[in-house]
């Protein structure tokens, strides 16, 4: 009874101010504390009050307020506020074309038909009965580059349509065997159950290689924004192909040329050509500390950031602290995983003079992250999807950190 009361009040104390704190102390067994006439600062000492009892759901400290940055079509991950490589599920970026649908898992069905021996319907429970696979992998929207002339732009805005999770589900190859996909099939259509009824054509080889129908993300059911109750996960491939809320797969011998692979997610390149089916995400990195809007001081600075490649593992991240004149190798934080975000760090001593710092990712195929100028030159001066340039940060004399295009 007494403990119950204390606990309730101390909960309130966490949210409330000094007034509740005082009341709380009067009612606790340790009336001694009050009689001794402690100051307000001492009342805030967490060692002087019992803490909150175990609960049913954990929550973030009220002092921590990382938030996504939403627009009408997407919401960006606060890369500059995160640590390590796994994106908390509620901070995973969002991009959808018709809003987040509400799907009852008991009604959910995945239908696979077309060039198969046996067209089949799987419930969510069916999907979970198959052998499961788990892997870590990044997801990135292919329209994920922004800059700002005044330099006042955070990693969240520059490339916050990148996130990473541990995904669990059934290998699509397992389902392909179950329905008996024809050996003549070369593509499949993946279709979502959202109001955009999102569709993409995927080469059948990717389905056999490493595609997953994922029903879990970071140890729990996939979040609604990420495709609850099940989504397609294609390691290393552009975000849009990872169809969320997947309801249907049609196996075919040609692509379907949906709006999302013709009007959108194609990029003008050199000679007036338009590049299509650019699935793989090229290697990229960004320094997340120090980055705008941080302000730094002279002395030791651990430069930190993340690097990833849709072609495989990151092998090197190079750092320049003199605007690209010379490069050093960053330390990669284990584990370095295939088609996953890898964290890097580089200890630097800033002498207080203005300079530019930047990172450059190299993946296991030998691809080296290009400068913006190189990308523009390779694509006939066109911007568009699949822009992964080196991001530079200018360190001003007063310690301000500002974005610079490369």
């Amino acid at each position: 009874m007494e403990i119950e009361k204390v606990n309730k009040i101390s909960r309130r104390k966490l949210l409330g101010g000094a007034a509740t704190a005082a009341v709380m102390l009067v009612q606790t067994a340790s009336g001694k504390a009050v009689q001794a006439g402690f100051t307000h600062a001492e009342l805030d000492d967490p060692t002087k009050v019992p803490g909150v009892l175990p609960g049913t759901l954990g929550s973030r400290s009220p002092f921590e307020k990382p938030v996504k940055a939403p627009s009408s079509t997407s919401s960006r991950t606060p890369l500059q506020d995160l640590y390590g490589t796994i994106t908390p599920s509620d901070l995973h970026f969002e991009r959808h074309h018709g809003g987040v649908p509400a799907i009852d898992p008991a009604q959910y069905k995945l239908t696979i038909h077309g060039m198969v021996q046996k067209p089949m319907v799987f419930t969510l429970a069916d999907l979970k009965r198959f052998p499961s696979v788990t892997r870590v992998g990044f997801l990135e929207c292919s329209g994920n580059y922004r800059g700002a002339d005044d330099g006042k732009i955070r990693p969240q805005e520059i490339c916050g349509l990148t996130s990473q999770s541990e995904w669990t589900g059934v290998s699509l190859s397992t389902l392909f065997r179950e329905v008996g996909v024809s050996s003549k099939a070369s593509w499949f259509l993946a279709e979502g159950g959202d109001s955009a009824v999102m569709t993409r054509s995927i080469p059948i080889k990717k389905g056999w290689d490493d595609a997953i129908i994922a029903y879990a993300q970071n140890g729990e059911a996939v979040r609604p924004e990420q495709g609850y109750p099940a989504r397609l996960f294609l390691p290393g491939w552009e975000g849009n192909t990872n169809i969320k809320w997947i309801r249907r797969i049609e196996v075919s011998d040609q692509p379907f040329m949906t709006r999302e692979e013709t009007s959108k997610y194609t990029e003008p390149v050199a000679d007036g050509k338009i590049r299509q089916f650019s699935f793989t995400m090229d290697a990229r990195s960004i320094i997340t500390y120090p980055s705008y809007p941080a302000q730094v001081e002279k002395g030791y600075i651990e430069i930190r950031g993340i690097a990833w490649s849709g072609r495989g593992k990151i092998v090197t991240v190079e750092i320049s602290t003199n605007a690209g004149k010379s490069w050093n190798t960053a330390v990669l934080q284990e584990p370095v995983m295939d088609k996953s975000i890898t964290a890097f760090r580089f200890l630097w001593k800033w002498d207080g003079s203005p300079t530019e710092i930047m990172s450059r990712a190299v993946d296991e195929t030998g691809y080296v992250q290009p400068f913006l100028k190189q990308l523009l030159a390779a694509r006939g001066g066109n911007m568009g999807y699949h822009f992964n340039p080196v991001t530079a940060w200018a360190i001003e004399r007063d310690g301000r950190v500002l974005f610079r295009a490369t």
Binding site: T111, V121, S263, F277, S278, T280, R311, G366, A378
Partner: protein
């Protein structure tokens, strides 16, 4: 610890770690698990709304731009503009591009490689506030209107499962498959 974990198997396996690893209690995967059920033709038909460039998936029915224009004004113009160029949402008609600054205009008339995509997309996703509400005849008519407004077909041309795949789209010749590869070349 190993003794505890492997006690069930150790009798046969002795100290040979390799043998132990291959003699787990996991069965070889079967050809089929037998989970899920066969999809009926009816339920596939209800879901299978996609249309391929060769016309596979196009339903019976037809429409022309005259009828399409009426539907467009009633159901689409609020978001795409009176003539398909004004917005506020995506521009659907190339129209006069001389007034457009900076960004290249990418729309049905100068960017879309297949006419069938117009039918497929409008039927599945538009109007944005009531997706999937149009009849097949309405979609044929709207497709005809959008293709005509982009100067690609005559005002009176009837579009149906046969004629729609034959509409020639000027942008098709520009499309090339991804030529990026693993390795150092930037493309």
């Amino acid at each position: 610890m190993a003794g505890i974990v492997v006690s069930a198997f150790t009798i046969k396996v002795k100290n040979d770690r390799q043998t132990f690893l291959t003699q787990s209690d996991t069965l070889q995967p079967p050809e089929r698990y037998g989970f899920g059920r066969v999809a009926t033709e009816r339920e596939i038909a209800m879901l299978d709304i996609d249309v391929r460039p060769d016309g596979k998936g196009l339903p019976p029915g037809q429409g022309n731009s005259v009828r399409g224009r009426e539907i467009y004004i009633a159901k689409c113009s609020a978001c795409h503009g009176a003539t398909g160029v004004e917005g506020p949402n995506d521009r659907l008609v190339v129209g006069d591009t001389t007034l457009v600054k900076s960004r290249r205009v990418k729309t049905i008339g100068n960017y879309w490689p297949y006419a069938t995509t117009v039918f497929d997309y409008v039927r599945r996703a538009m109007p944005f506030n009531a997706p999937g509400s149009l009849t097949d005849e309405e979609v044929y008519s709207l497709t005809a209107y959008l293709l005509h407004a982009n100067g690609l077909i005559d005002a009176k041309k009837e579009l149906n499962a046969k004629s729609l795949p034959q509409v020639v789209m000027p942008a098709k010749k520009y499309f090339v498959p991804d030529d990026r590869q693993d390795g150092p070349v930037i493309r």
